[in-house]
Symmetry: C2
Subunit: 207 residues, 2 copies
Amino acid sequence: MTVRAPRLSASERRAQLIDVGRRVFAKRGYEAASLEEIADEAKVSRPVVYEHFGGKEGLYAVVIDREMDVIVQRIAAAISGGSPRARVEAAALAFLTYVKEHPEGFAVLTHDAPVSTARGGMSSLLNDVAARVGDIFAASFKSAGYDPKAAPVYAHALVGMVTFVGQWWTETRRPSVEEVASHIAALAWMGLRHLPKRPTRLKSRPT
Amino acid sequence: MTVRAPRLSASERRAQLIDVGRRVFAKRGYEAASLEEIADEAKVSRPVVYEHFGGKEGLYAVVIDREMDVIVQRIAAAISGGSPRARVEAAALAFLTYVKEHPEGFAVLTHDAPVSTARGGMSSLLNDVAARVGDIFAASFKSAGYDPKAAPVYAHALVGMVTFVGQWWTETRRPSVEEVASHIAALAWMGLRHLPKRPTRLKSRPT
DNA sequence: CGTGTAACTTACGTTCGTGTAGGTACGCGT
DNA sequence: ACGCGTACCTACACGAACGTAAGTTACACG
């Protein structure tokens, strides 16, 4: 017969289900994932999942929440001190390190979220980050004689840089995150430092 | 009774269904979208969709294909001539203009694709683009004394910049795509021009 | 004015996934 | 050894989609 899996305590089972759930959501995305697959992989029947999380959305919410916490913590710690330049690099490194150590969590965050939730995991987080960065930029821009309206553009550009490279890195896993982070930071930093006061518009309008 | 919708020719209906399908896929993502909603919105019953596209995947494939064509065409045209610097800006502008004029198409491409397809719409396209850019960089890097291994990092960083800004722009729709493109191009260009030969590693390793 | 073809529909079978009701068995404490 | 609570399971009701079969309506054309 099918070998009976060992009985677990409530909190152990909970932890395990979060783990399995993250893996399955990472692989399939929210919609395509089924509680059945999750339950099977945890060697448990579906009602157990309902008991603990109330359903698919419940589990998903917990997974997302946990993952957000992890990544926010790391980035917050990274930008807590040092020169501006160092903070840029530290933030990139923190993000990439997260991607390296929690590939499944990262995958879950990048996948589509259910329609019900007010804008899914990553996009909301990244927009928050970008907005913050944008505010900082806007202040610096003002005092340096740049157009503050352009600040959000640069902020989002930076965030996009890091996230996209992160996604690519999960596939190649090379070069090391430290190298990648330093390259990205260099690109961003040098780009920002040598920004013209008012970028030259090269073409007026295409067709 | 429900008002009878006018009868359409095969090709007209086909075109209409592609249009509606794009809109619905953009709104819901592939998995969450239902043929029923698409058929309803087109004032037609479901079998019609099967007749024309063989099913959900078929319609989706056509929508994706069409959209890819559009965007590839535009970018190809944009980088066909001019100084390197001008090409960077033109490519960014072309992409952002596409985002502006085809927000639903862009949304479809960024959403998750069905698991069956070999890596969904956008990611595959962007990776292609990034790979091409990376090759060009690698060549330039070699002859300029930079580490060619870093080329893909910069390539992906650039692509990520543009796409993420594009996503953000769909929400704010300001400033104009021309301004945004010139800012992005400036950031990218200045960053690349002032790249140190070998980026200084600032921190050795965090805990 | 019939008649055939293309466009379209209603109706059904089937699968799959969610969520719940009620029962079983493991194992800890006394 | 004997409860007794907690972990867990089987079984079912339900609905949402997909996909198909067979019939029906509109319209062009001889």
